[in-house]
Each structure stands twice: as structure tokens, then as C-alpha cells.
């Protein structure tokens, strides 16, 4: 069961604004005690909103002695004020500060997301509070087309990625891949075409033209890593884009040739250790700047280009749905950041976290381009410093302060460029 949720992006929350709290206190017309709270700590440059997290395993519901608190099937934690005696044990255990003792009465109060149309989100002009509908995931997720049994290393995000991709795209597709970590020939319940690493776009081209010839809408989907996309197959990819072939090409970018033992690719980030960019008396990791393939693809002016990653599944699904439409008229390309615990060297449970911080630090900005017109789909006003990203993985363990600074400059520069050409 997937639920709509009120999301808070504190990075965008300005110090002086109190609009959501005001909107909350007027939530049913008359003035009520607000159940959302502005937290300002200028000393730490911390400004955010505090309200109920709508936990899936809410501690408040567990301890509530009268059962006044419960969680609805729609995933909202609600308070039945008639049963509440104001013992405040919920307030004592809530680790998010999301439940409030009322001023006027001996009762608690909490956010119920205004029954599905939260006034605070409507009032927020800064994209801090948004009400994210799960409907795209709920309605559009189809059959799980991945077979049981996983060929991946522990902690790899590819399973999640493949599953989501196939659940959205459905059965009427043919997959094209090449030797890689993610060969789905015996793993997916859809046809899989294995080609050479240089030939994913051209093989998909041939088959998609045949489908057009016989009037079939079956989508040809390239699903392949950064090595085949940015290096070996880039010529074929660029050519297919230039011809406007009806292919949906998804590059899962783990920033090196992971399958063959972690060799540098042209998307390997600055300073990163790989087996071919060793760290020692001579080398200090990857030299030079990586190739920004999604931007290059956007400049081809094709139907649709987007970046996406695991921590933002609704964003990815929305983009997949757009790509699924766009591919009827021409080429669609989605570049997905897919961290590799083995190659990046981080703890196996942290893959989703890596992708979130990659986005929140602007290391991997999320955007889309329709026919070459770029638009940011997620903005972070107060980005996490890149040093907080690099410290989470051992491939960057050797970086000097200067290298981190250079990487930060590169990230800032790339983001500024994208923002400059992005139109609202």
C-alpha cells in the first residue's frame, strides 16, 4: 500500500516565512491551534517545519492508552479527540516532535493532512512543503516482471531500479543490453536482446524500425551501464539520437566499469579511485572531468531526456511515464545514478541514502528536457556540501582538501550551468 505524503524540504525554508503555520490555523475556516510549527535556529542557519511524520509504525499509536490515535488505511495517523484524555504519553515518545499538547484543553492535537488537501502545502510558496501523491506509483505500477533470484552484489540498487522500470513500462517491451552487471536475459519476464557493448542503440534501432513497419507499439528499451553508454557505444547512441530513433534508452550510471572489476569510465568522478586510476605515489585518483552524458543528449534536442535516481522513486516513475509517451515520436533518454557498493566502497545498506545525498548536494541534479528545453525537477536551495557526500565512500577516502574543493567547484559550476539553461 502506497500513501500520499506531505514532504518537507527544509533546505528551501526561508527564515522569515510563517505562511504554512498561518494556513494551518485557518484549516477549517475558524482559527484553530496550528499542528505545524516553524523552527528557526539562526545560529545554525537551520530553518524548517515540524509536523507529524505520519510514520508507518507510529510509536504514538502504540503507546496511546485509549486508542485515540490510530493509523488509517490511507496511511495517515489520526487523533480521535473524543477519546483523548491529554495524558501526553504520545508527546513523550514521538521522536519527531510531531504531536502537540493543546493550549486550550487537556488534549493532544496533530496533523491529519487536512483529509488529503493540506492547507500548509497550498500556502507554501517556496517548495518546502509539497503534498506528493502516490497515485502515480499506486495506479501505474504494474506486474512485477523480475524473476526470483538476484545476480547482484549485496546492497546493489539495480534490483530496485529494474523492478520499478519494468513495473512502469509493462510487458510490451523488448530489452536491449550488453555484457554488464545487469544482464536480464534469464531474469526478466520480457524479451531480452543481448548485444555487444558498442551496439545497444543500433540493435534497438533495427528492431524498433521493424516494429514500426508491422504497426506494433512495442517499445525497444536499452538498459545498460555508463561504460557502454558514455564510452564504447557513445557514437552509436549519438547517431541514434540524431536520427530520432524511437528508442527508450536508460543508462544506469555506476560511474565505472563495475562488472569487469572497477575500471574508470568517462563518467567516473574527479579524484575517484578505481582500479585504473590508482592512488599511490604517482596517482591521486581519476584526473580530469567526467563526461556529462545527459546534458549532451539534451543538446541533441531529442523528444525527452531526464536524470533520475533511487531516492526519488515518484520522480523517476513520472519521468518513465513521460519517456514512454515521448518514445512514440522519437528518442527518449534517462540517465539514472545507480551507486555501486562494491566499486564505490560503502556499506551495503546505504545505496538509497547515497543517491539522496548525491541529489541534495547537487552532485547529481534532477532535471528533464523536453525537445531540448531543460527544466529542474528538484531544487535544493541550501545544498549539502560535497565533503559530506565524499566522506561516505572509500573511493574518495584519499581526497585532499584541495581535491574536495576542486570537486565542489566542479559541482557548483555544473549545477550553475544547468540552472542557467533551465527554464521555468
Amino acid at each position: 500500500m502506497l500513501n500520499n505524503s506531505l514532504t518537507v524540504r527544509s533546505a528551501n525554508c526561508p527564515p522569515s516565512c510563517n505562511l504554512c503555520v498561518e494556513a494551518c490555523s485557518r484549516r477549517i475556516g475558524s482559527v484553530l491551534e496550528p499542528v505545524i510549527e516553524k523552527i528557526d535556529l539562526p545560529e545554525m542557519n537551520y530553518h524548517t517545519m515540524l509536523t507529524c511524520n505520519q510514520c508507518s509504525q507510529p510509536e504514538c499509536v502504540g503507546v496511546c492508552p485509549t486508542g485515540a490515535l490510530s493509523r488509517t488505511d490511507a496511511g495517515t495517523v489520526v487523533l480521535n479527540a473524543d477519546r483523548c484524555v491529554g495524558c501526553s504519553i504520545c508527546n513523550l515518545v514521538c521522536p519527531y516532535g510531531g504531536i502537540y499538547p493543546q493550549k486550550a484543553e487537556h488534549k493532544s492535537s496533530k496533523c491529519d493532512q487536512c483529509g488529503g488537501t493540506p492547507e500548509c502545502a497550498k500556502a507554501c510558496p517556496n517548495n518546502v512543503l509539497t503534498y506528493e501523491k502516490a497515485s502515480v506509483m499506486d495506479e501505474k505500477l504494474g506486474e512485477d516482471l523480475l524473476s526470483p533470484g538476484l545476480p547482484y552484489c549485496a546492497g546493489c540498487g539495480m534490483e530496485l531500479l529494474d523492478r520499478q522500470t519494468l513495473q512502469i513500462l509493462g510487458k510490451d517491451i523488448v530489452l536491449f543490453g550488453a555484457p554488464s552487471c545487469n544482464v536480464l536475459s534469464s531474469k526478466a519476464k520480457v524479451p531480452y536482446y543481448g548485444t555487444l557493448m558498442t551496439q545497444v542503440p543500433s540493435s534497438a534501432t533495427g528492431v524498433s524500425r521493424y516494429f514500426k513497419h508491422i504497426n506494433k507499439e512495442t517499445i525497444c528499451v536499452g538498459l545498460i551501464g555508463d561504460g557502454a553508454t558514455a564510452d564504447l557505444g557513445f557514437g552509436a547512441l549519438s547517431a541514434a539520437a540524431e536520427r530520432g530513433e524511437r528508442i527508450l534508452y536508460i543508462c544506469y550510471d555506476n560511474e565505472a566499469y563495475m562488472n569487469t572489476g572497477i575500471q574508470r569510465s568517462s563518467t567516473t568522478p574527479m579524484g575517484s579511485w578505481t582500479n585504473t586510476t590508482q592512488v599511490g605515489s604517482v596517482g591521486r585518483g581519476r584526473e580530469g572531468k567526467p563526461k556529462n552524458v545527459p546534458l549532451l543528449m539534451a543538446f541533441h534536442g531529442i523528444e525527452y531526456v531526464a536524470t533520475a535516481t533511487l531516492a526519488y522513486p515518484e520522480d523517476y516513475m513520472r519521468k518513465l511515464l513521460k519517456a514512454k509517451e515521448a518514445v512514440k515520436n522519437g528518442m527518449a533518454y534517462i540517465h539514472v545514478l545507480a551507486p555501486c557498493p562494491t566499486g564505490w566502497k560503502f556499506e551495503t545498506e546505504k545505496v538509497v541514502e547515497m543517491t539522496r545525498i548525491a541529489v541534495e548536494s547537487n552532485y547529481f541534479p534532477l532535471w528533464e528536457a523536453e525537445k531540448g528545453t531543460i527544466k529542474l525537477t528538484h531544487e535544493t536551495n541550501n545544498p549539502t556540501p560535497i565533503k559530506d557526500f565524499v566522506k561516505r565512500m572509500k573511493r574518495f577516502a584519499h581526497l585532499s582538501d584541495q581535491q574536495i574543493e576542486e570537486l565542489q567547484q566542479y559541482v557548483n559550476g555544473t549545477y550553475a550551468n544547468i540552472k542557467r539553461i533551465a527554464t521555468d
Binding site: 486508542g67 504519553i89 513523550l92 521522536p95 545525498i357
Partner: protein, 418 residues
Amino acid sequence: MEITKHLIIGAGPAALAAAQAIRETDISAEITLVTKENSIPYSPAMLPYLISKELDENDFFAKGKDLLDNLNIKLLFGKEVVAVWPEKNEVEYADGVREAYDKLLIAAGASPQITLKDQLPEEQIFTFRTFQDFERLNKILGTQQEIAIFGAGLVAVEAAEKLCLAGHKVTVIARSSLLRKYFDPQNVAALTQAFNKCGAKIITKNTLVAAKKMDNKLELTLENGDTLLVDRLIAATGVAANLIKHDSLALAEGGLKVGKYMETELPNIYAAGDVAAAPCFFGGQNAPCPILPEAVLQGKIAGANMAGETVEYEGWVPCNYLRCFDEHLFSIGVTSTAEGQPYQVVEKRDGGSSLKLVFDEDCLIGAEGLNMKYTHPGVFLYLIKEQIPVKKYKDLLMDKPKETACWLMSQHRKNQAI
């Protein structure tokens, strides 16, 4: 597939939380609650609210009823388990009948220790721990009676407040002081004032030494020689765990000793709630922690482990929230420090409110507040349980407790895993 038979002794919050946790993992398990009481499950913490009629009986039992209906649990009323036979995986009821189990949870709670039994017939002493106690008291409770409460713990204080609000004249007799174990004396002073305003009398540093029946009244004699004439006496001087004895079940501080999985030393037998002596968060010593949030947490962990998961209990952190009249008091973790302990205590008192924070080096280990209800005590509990280093932000935390605690919490979550 074989169906696992889970037997849970008790029907309080720990038992219900365990049943819920088992059901979450095992849809087909047979779950049976056995209680010696004659009612459906309820939370004893809510009994005082029945006196003040802030809660009616329907709502009092609503949660238990919901869970029974929704979780497919069997409830056995009025049955007391008197022995366990671990080698046979059986329990024995008071009537000698035995019942088999695959997994057993002892969550039998605790009962009041009744004082002055030798001086007054039992029907003259009231306790306040079960619904039956409430019914018994409620039946004879007229209007504007003189009621003495012997004891000064949370149950005594809450009952006293509700009786005051119901128009009775209440005297609380405390052996040391009101709520000594829970709150700072200065915060308790604010509470005492509230009681006095309501016409209640708080007698401290005294104890009840004799009681006798005088016509329709009871004459109570205190240690200092004073006497009191009252209509009713409620004994609330503490509770003792409802133990189920077995040679191999080790005890600790009066409770059944359990490990970090809430397991006892006997196979397939777990314990949770007021009866269990689980490890303390600070130092790991085993002792009972008879508070509602820990009972729920222990029940949840015991249930998950009984159903085959592996979930560790991190240890109990004493925490209390008392809303009495219009005063809100909370205390979390280590709040009273003895001399010679290496803890740093910072305190701020401002009119009708106060905040005390206790640090062990860089980390917060205790917090206590009076009328700081908007500071979110749960976030402080999180800072303590996660041992989040506060370091140089101690002053800021004291200065802007709510904002700084939220900031520390969110930074920690961000760094840990998002």
C-alpha cells in the same frame, strides 16, 4: 504449515503490543491472552480518568476491543497461571488444568503491595490498579468524601488529582515527598501548590502506622502521632511484580530477569512489561521499569522475537509525563544526580517553568521539564537514546531547547541514514 501457539500471560499494554507484533509477522499464529481479571484488555494508566469521567467505560475498553476484533486473538478471562512446566512447554492454571504453548510470554504486570493488612479488614483498604479496583471504589464513593491516599507515586498523585476534581477532600500521605523518584523537588512544589489550591492536603515525611475503624469512619494514626479521620483509605505505596515462579527463572530487583531479546533463561519463555527485569539503557543492570512506553516497547520486541525475528532491546530509559491540574511535568533518563558523579547538570528556572539537562561528557543523559510542554520531550528522549553528541551546543540547547533539539535530531537522522 505448522501453526505456532503463542500464549501470553496478561492482557495489559505489553501483552497487547506483543500480540500485535506477533500478528504482524505471523498471520496464521494462534495467539491467546490469559488474564486473571474479568474484563477485556485495557491500559491501567487510564484508570484515574474514569474517576474524573474524562473517559467513559466504552472508550476505556475501546482499544482492547479493537485489537481483539482485528488481530484474531483469543482471550481467556479469569484464569490465573500459577506454574510453568518448561520441559513440557505447558502452563498450569489455578484449577490444575494445564495448557500447552510453543512460545510463552509472561506479561502478568504487577499488583499493589497492601499495607496495614493486619490492622484493617481487607474490605476497608482500597487499591487502585485494576478495573475491578475502580469498580469497587466507585461503588461506595459518595460525594464530597474525605479520602486518604497512602503513597506518593504516579498512581497516587493521579488518583488524588482526579478525586479532587470530583469534589472529594483528599489527603496524600507521603513517606518522603511527593513523586520523589520521578521529579525534582522544586517542580513537585509547583504541583503541591496546585493541590493546596484545590483544597487537598499533602503530608510529607510521615507515614501511616495504625488505622482503626470508628463508626463509619477510619481513624488513621501517623508516625508523628497525628491522627486523621477519613471516609476511605487508598493504599498506593508501590507495586510488586506478579511473578510466576520456577527454579530456573532468575529474578532481578523483584522482576523476572530477561536478556536483550526479552528472553528469560528458560527456552521459549519471554517476559515483558512491569513483571520483567530488563537491562537498563544506562549500565545494563536488570530491573523492572514499570512505565507504559517501556511496557509497549518491551512487548513489541518480545512479540517480534517470539515470532521468529531477531530484534534487540536497547534497554529502558525511565521516562515519565505527568499532566496534573494544569501543570505539565516530564522527566527522561538520569535526572537526579548524586554527589561525586561526573555528570554536568544545567538548569534554568523561569517563573512557572523550568528545564534541567544532564550531560555525561558530550551526550545528553537526562532531561526534566516543568510546563515545557511545547519543547517536544520525545525529541529529547531521541537525543538520549541515540546518544547524539551535543558537544559545544550545550548552551544553545539550554537557551533554545526546542529548536536546538530538533536541529540535533535532524542532523543525526541526515548523517545516519536518510
